[in-house]
Amino acid sequence: MLQIKNLHVKVGDKEVLHDINLTIAEGETHVLLGPNGSGKTTLLMTIMGFSNYTITEGKILFKGEDVTSMHAHERAQRGIGMMFQRPPTISGLKLGKMLTAISHTKDENIPELAKSVHMDKFLERDINKGFSGGEIKRSEVLQLMIQNPDFVMLDEPESGVDLENISLIGTTIGSLLEKDKHLIKRRKSGLVITHTGYILDYIDADKGHVMCDGQIRCHGNPREILKDIKQRGYRECLECRHP
């Protein structure tokens, strides 16, 4: 589904991602762990195609196609989607209008979908304006439900969300990733940034990666890596130079 080869990324004049290599197969969900400021969000924003993130070297292949120099909308149209941790507030643009714009000619029942994530009362509100942490996540999930991407990136889906909402958001993300389908029939893939690991209860991740100082330092079983980090912190990861 996604293949990243030898990727180097600059923000402004500074290189923040160095020689990233990552392959995510169809039906797989990977978890990205790492301390604050290690470059996890930068990687997601780069894969999405945001213009602030300049690829200086390397390639991003999606479904076998080189998307490295494509604009964000071209990547979205090919099936890449993202749940933002801190999406911008757009004054005047109503959530309902945005959902209609995203859906294009598709026949989704927007009010019904909104109701399923308790966002039906927000359709006439300016997008993200005055939304709580949980409301932002539910709005993001709702947009992804309409967009229905094949590859979903989730930037800290549980941050700022209370326990009740984690269950709702987790279950919805689980169905976006077709976790309710048998392994063999699963076509959707994902890449998830998490600090707490709560989301793992809903998405059964296949692989985990640890990012430090703009590099992916190690790979392994996501629950084991998380357990290790919870016990020892990131100190050893930071010291580790040999992934």
């Binding site: 195609g49 964000a72 979205a76 989607g81 911008p88 004054s91 005047g92 643009l93 714009a101």
Partner: protein, 371 residues
């Protein structure tokens, strides 16, 4: 339903231009109509009981008391424009009277059409008597061919009596060589509500106006909303003023201004003269192409107990907002148009649905031509 308006010698293009200002010549969704083409009054009638639409001259002949309403809130000596209109021996324009307790579900349309390169002058008086509710859409347009020398001088005096309401939605569709000078003022009595909406999405050489609402009655309300786009060569000097003179009086002045190369001066003034009054002024501007937006918000309070605020911002489209929408699959132009559309989306509370739709339709036309 009133019969369709017969308009002499108007091309399909110019009929469409009129339609874009909300003028419905078929009269399907209108209860009354006034149409003035240059200086000729083509049509003045209203099918709603209790509401009259008359030419200025006819109204003055019919009601002697009307002289107490002419040049009362706008001074004939105010400036060159008012002096010019006051000096006319054959005054034009309309008088709309909503008699006590009347109301119109379908709006009345007032259309001022400029087909020649000369000055069109009008003097309008609009009265909503006690308990009446009156909704008017004023479409002002010129023929696409009208060249230099075309100008519109318009005096409008509004009287909102006790428990009455007037909504006045003015949509402009002039052309590059036309100069427009509305001069209007209103007086709002106890529990009265005055909604004044202005939409101009099309080129004009110059517009200059600064309507004033005087809130004389307890709990009276005035709301001004302006949605404008200024194209290269357009000079729009716009403003609105509210004078709060009674307890509980409140005013809201909202502007959304976009320049694509023209100049917009957005003035606003709220004067809280007594305690228990409230006012808010808001101007948001977007500069899409180099032009000028000059916001001059003024709030003036002279007693303890008046609460006034203002908010003004001028900026550009935010890159992160555009890319956020692009990450959902919209291309850059679609994302930009969606954000601008949201920026211009001012929902005016108390405005009938038909009129809100008309405002939305004007924005649609601008959106289709790529803002």
């Amino acid at each position: 339903m009133p019969s369709p308006i017969k308009v002499p010698d108007l091309s399909k293009t110019d009929r469409d231009r009129l339609a874009q200002t909300g003028i419905d010549l078929s009269m399907t969704n209108r209860c009354g109509s006034y149409l003035q083409m240059d200086q000729d009054i083509v049509h003045a009638e209203c099918g709603e009981s209790g509401i009259e639409v008359l030419s200025y001259k006819r109204a003055m002949e019919k009601y002697d008391w009307l002289k107490d309403y002419a040049w009362q809130v706008v001074s004939p000596e105010k400036d060159e424009i008012t002096k010019y209109v006051a000096a006319q021996k054959d005054p034009k324009g309309y008088v709309i009277i909503a008699h006590k307790g009347s109301n119109n579900v379908l709006p009345i349309q007032a259309c001022l059409y400029l087909g020649k390169g000369q000055i069109q002058h009008v003097h309008n008086i609009i009265i909503a008597e006690e308990g009446a509710e009156l909704h008017i859409i004023s479409g002002c347009a010129s023929g696409a061919h009208v060249g230099k020398g075309g100008a519109h001088y318009g005096i409008s005096e509004f009287y909102v009596k006790k428990n009455a309401k007037i909504s006045f939605t003015m949509i402009h569709n002039w052309s590059e060589d036309i100069e427009v000078f509305p001069r209007s003022a209103s007086v709002i009595e106890e529990n009265g509500v005055f909604l004044s909406n202005y939409v101009c999405m099309q080129p004009v050489k110059k517009v200059q106006m600064y309507p004033t609402a005087t809130l004389k009655g307890t709990n009276s309300v005035a709301r001004f909303s302006s949605i404008v786009i200024s194209t290269p060569g357009s000079h729009m000097d716009l403003g609105s003023r509210a004078i709060l003179e009674a307890p509980g009086a409140s005013a809201e002045l909202i502007t959304r201004a976009i320049t694509k190369g023209g100049t917009i001066i957005s003035r606003g003034h709220i004067n809280g003269k007594i305690a228990g009054t409230r006012g808010h002024l808001e101007c948001k501007g977007l500069i899409l192409k180099d032009g000028r937006i000059y916001a001059i918000p003024e709030i003036e309070g002279s007693v303890v107990g008046t609460e006034l605020s203002h908010e003004a911002a001028v900026g550009k489209l935010a890159r992160d907002e555009i890319e956020y929408l692009m990450s959902r699959g919209l291309d850059e132009d679609e994302a930009t148009a969606t954000i601008i559309r949201g920026f211009l989306d001012v929902k005016i509370s108390g405005l009938p649905d038909a009129l809100q739709k008309q405002i939305d339709a004007s924005i649609d036309v601008a959106e289709k031509s790529g803002f």
